[in-house]
Symmetry: C2
């Protein structure tokens, strides 16, 4: 017995209506509007196996319009994933439910990435598609051969990041990427025409994309368009003409269905309109059986794939890559492999290059890149050649002047697996990437941000290019490790720590200017986040706490104080969050509460109260920077030994 | 005697080479490549009067590719602006020079906006062009009739924000906007083809733009293309095919000219190649005279404009608008005008709407908008109708799902003058706008950000939509006033304060959820940034410091403590930066160091040490949020009276 396609799609509509109604909160319009397209996608095109949501060669499905989360929850439930259960769906948007307001990759294994912040799903999908082509080039068609499918709304296509993502995908020729555009002509505020007059297909074509279109409520037409998209060697945009909230007779086609429950009466009217008589959250057996059947089809392909993998010559390496485990000691060894070539005075961005040289040689999973600042970020090592449509095996992505797109693509690569991405820009442009950095942290994605030119040490480029508030404000993003190493030893340690952290992003803030080495050994002191780099010689009266390039100043201040018989510890604090994770006794020993504690960092002082305490001193910059040679700036902002030491002496004498 | 056009352009090239060489830092490639185009623009098209850089009806010129700052410094000097002098040019990129690494509007009156962070100049120009059309619609052709010209590079056109800006400009039909694209096919990393394969003109056409093109080194062709752009009713992109570093015989056309000094030998070779024999920083008299002559031409138009203004019926209002002064008491009066209609329990986003209703009725210079969240941000009042190409007098911009583009356009409007822009989105998307918020602050631009849904109070939408680190990290941006008002009184006060602050941006963080009124009077207590809202009844043992929606909790905690005979002050701290500006005695009286100080804010606790001191307690959220109804979230994160009061009692008993 064949179940009508409409009934399959209506199962999505019914679950979406019911769940949003039960929660009295959510977005029914998108799932109802895209139910037909999603049905065709999951029935005929998507390669997936609900029995193993992490099957490496599955197609990736990204719901970029994440507010329509009931679409994916419905699909995962209907096709037989272990999660969400129908009870999970019933508790949509309730505290503790894996069916959160927006799809979260850490809640449900079938959710490839966390979406909701518009445009980023599409941009992450570009990274996933690039990862697929790269791994395909390395391991071959037999074990890496899948597509990336995206559902995106008008919001995703209006956001600036989609321009960056589309440009990157077109340039890299990612033909395995297919974006299904929910062209419902409605945004929250009303018709799209309120705010946009763009010919979207023309724009995509301008970036080298193929564009197909279909009636998003005509199953045959949808199937034709998806087949066309799948066949075309270019990345494809499929314009799916849909009616938002399709099925709700009085509200469909309007923004009223977008972001709130339909209401009891309209749900009843919709049920009648759709001919859906099952009780809320109930799916008639035949419809459920048909959906489960689609879910089972992938099992066969999966089984065949497993056979191919079993006999594959690179099986062990493939499995190692996909597992993604990095041993800290191994990584440290590689990061220090070129240690003997590191000059005595060197910028930390340059010592990062030395570390990367060893790491990229040893770790083929490292894929680097820069947002058009390769020669400034020092992100390209001899092991890395550019990735191009002709050479996907390349391990360096020329991201162009697309910081946000780079960051989101890196999220996609990290979530795809098999790759550990790192990418560079100036630290001040962390602001451009910030929404994606936040998503790296939420998604627990191992992405490594190489952010150079990390202070007024930028010099002449002036305030627009000088980070002031950046390091501190990045420290406030949960689950992001922010490292600001002070010399080449710390740089190598921090690289190793970042690589070994499988469940979250790290950001390295690196200096433009040369710095003298303060340490000689590789005993991984940075793992503690903060540590006593030098103990006072005279009786300790001061603890100087600093990071990065200002450790040079701290060292000078300590010297000046010691010369006057005042003992001063120097504490290096490359990573606050790691220091916070240490035991209280260690922290108290490192930063004794009864001694004058002084922070020195070329950024905002707010926040340093945590470590200096009420009676401490904080040296930093609480205004914007200025344009001028580096020495003039450090002098102007009072960040010199000559300016700081007397203030500490005065404080001690009070 | 006519000076050859080439010599005029070579004056720009020579000054640019000389200044970069003297600084041994900077970007000679762009000024040298665009010297011919800029010469035609300033000679034949741009309406400006060096004698009055602030003439309201001048054309706006935006160097979006701000790294090529020597182009604008050369032009301002050559055409006779009082600043920069040739000595200023000689000190290019030195500390204290107005010729900073990137053009800064606060350094030189002839610089319309601060550029350098790529893409934002173009996006600000969209705001300027919208402001011009709006004021034209209000005041007529006689006194408002100018164009906005932009020079943008490939970086600007690759950045995501240009997509948002281009879409907005096309939608609003801003035909007075002309973007001159320096199509030199080179980025820092090498040829553009390394990272992009886009058909840029096709993309612009897809958004309703007109595209012209020219040989950027053929004066007649440039003039033709600019005339075509000026004549076309659509916004225009002029593709100027140029050679980067044109004139430097061995380096032109390569990325070697982009971002560093040419070097002594290449400068000498370029001088020979260009036939330029004058000493460094010297301009031959005839060339200088010709340039000064172009500068003087605008004086006549300016004089005629002044006559028209003098007899204009709306002269006083026009001058008032352009002056931009806002009296705090007036603003407060308007913000409280609808006070009697404000419910006893109301979300601060909704009380913001009440305040705005009075303000927008009284202040025609207020132009609002939202990034497609009008019904959530409550930014549209009865006084505001949408701005469209048919009705530029409209005072509400449907920005679409373009947060960053909105923020940058608002910067442009504020810098244009005559308008005070405000715009809304969810606070969590402050991250999307952050680079533009930073530029508002650097540029001292009065832009008001209406950021609603400011905490886990967002509820079901979950972690991607719940600000955690945002309020604190925004507080760290210098010169940005971050307000988090606790009730309708504070909302009205904060609106008035924001409007009265002429020299910088303000951001209002507003609740989604309803809040009970804590105050009754409009005595502008918020002006102090932090103040004692309620004094302890029993002997004071605790000071509770809070902001926004958590003031409700603080009030409950105080009640619980007082019930046990423990006196507790409640301090509301709507604006940290204003509190910091108070005298030490006031701050110490408000937050006495010898009393247990406790902060309560639904965001990161880092930073609150400043006000709680070492011995204080900090209640907040140092992880990401979660999806669920609001009450379940506050309970989960321990932000309830029941969770907090016992911890304070325990602390007091220690």
């Amino acid at each position: 017995m064949t179940v009508a396609q409409t009934d399959l799609a209506n199962a999505i509509r019914a679950l979406s209506m019911d769940a949003v109604e039960a929660a009295n909160s959510g977005h029914p319009g998108m799932p109802m509007g895209m139910a037909d397209v999603a049905t065709v996608l999951f029935r005929d095109f998507l390669k997936f196996d609900p029995a193993d949501p992490k099957w490496p060669d599955r197609d990736r499905f990204v719901l970029s319009a994440g507010h329509g989360s009931m679409l994916i929850y419905s699909l995962l439930y209907l096709t037989g994933y272990a999660q969400p259960t129908i009870d999970d769906v019933r508790t949509f948007r309730q505290f503790g439910s894996p069916c959160a307001g927006h799809p979260e990759n850490f809640e449900l294994p079938g959710v490839e990435c966390t979406t909701g912040p518009l445009g980023q799903g599409l941009a992450m999908a570009v990274g996933m598609a690039a990862a697929e082509r790269h791994l395909n080039a390395v391991f071959g068609d037999a074990i890496v051969d899948h597509r990336t499918w995206v559902i995106a709304g008008d919001g995703c296509l209006m956001e600036g990041i989609n321009h960056e993502a589309v440009g990157l995908a077109g340039h890299l020729g990612l033909g395995r990427l297919n974006v299904l555009w929910d062209d419902n002509r409605i945004t929250i505020d009303g018709p799209v025409s309120l705010s946009s007059s763009e010919d979207i297909p023309a724009r995509y074509r301008a970036s080298g994309w193929h564009v197909a279109e279909c009636d998003g409520h005509d199953f045959a037409d949808i199937a034709r368009a998806l087949a066309e998209a799948a066949a075309d060697p270019r990345p494809s945009l499929v314009q799916c003409r849909t009616i938002i909230g399709k099925g709700a007779p009085n509200k469909q086609g309007t923004s009223k269905t977008h972001g709130s429950a339909l209401g009891k009466d309209e749900v009843a009217a919709a049920r009648e309109n759709l001919g859906w008589t099952a009780a809320p959250f109930e799916i008639p057996d035949d419809i459920r059986a048909a959906w489960l059947d689609f879910g089972k089809r992938g099992g066969q392909a999966h089984g065949e794939w497993q056979k191919r993998l079993a006999s594959h010559s690179d099986r062990a390496e493939f499995e190692r890559r996909m597992a993604g485990d990095v041993d800290l000691e191994d990584a440290a060894g590689w990061a220090f492999a070129n240690w003997d070539r590191v000059p005595a005075s060197v910028a930390t961005r340059k010592s990062s290059e030395f570390a990367l040289e060893g790491l990229t040689a040893a770790m083929p999973e490292l894929v680097g890149g820069s947002a058009d600042l390769t020669g400034s970020n020092f992100t390209k090592t001899p092991s890395l050649t550019s990735m191009t449509p002709e050479y996907y095996a390349g391990r360096y992505i020329n991201y162009g002047i697309r910081e946000f797109g780079m960051a989101a693509a890196m999220n996609g690569m990290a979530l795809h697996g098999g790759i550990i991405p790192f990418g560079g820009t100036f630290l001040v442009f962390a602001d451009y990437c910030r929404p994606a950095i936040r998503l790296s942290a939420i998604q627990q994605a191992r992405v490594i941000y190489v952010m150079t030119h990390d202070s007024i040490g930028v010099g002449e480029d002036g305030p627009t290019h000088q980070p002031i508030e950046h390091v501190m404000s990045l420290r406030m993003i949960p689950n992001l490790e922010v490292y600001r190493p002070c010399d080449a030893v710390e740089v190598a340690e921090c690289w190793a720590l970042a690589l070994a952290k499988k469940d979250g992003p790290s950001l390295l803030a690196l200096s433009r200017q040369n710095l003298k080495q303060l340490r000689t050994g590789g005993d991984m002191l940075s793992a503690k986040g903060g540590y006593r780099l030098r103990a006072a010689t005279a009786a300790r009266q001061v603890v100087l706490i600093s990071t990065g390039s200002e450790m040079q100043i701290a060292a000078g201040v300590a010297e000046a104080l010691e010369a006057q018989g005042i003992g001063a510890d120097i504490v290096s604090m490359p990573c606050w969050s790691r220091f916070e994770a240490q035991e209280a006794a260690y922290r108290a020993d490192t930063l004794p509460p009864d001694v004058l504690r002084v922070s020195i960092e070329a950024g905002v002082t707010t926040g340093w109260e945590r470590y200096t305490g009420d009676g401490g001193l904080r040296f930093g910059i609480d205004s914007f920077g200025a344009s001028g040679p580096i020495d003039s700036l450090y002098k102007h902002f009072g960040l010199t030994v000559e300016a700081i030491a007397p203030k500490i002496l005065a404080k001690l004498q009070n």
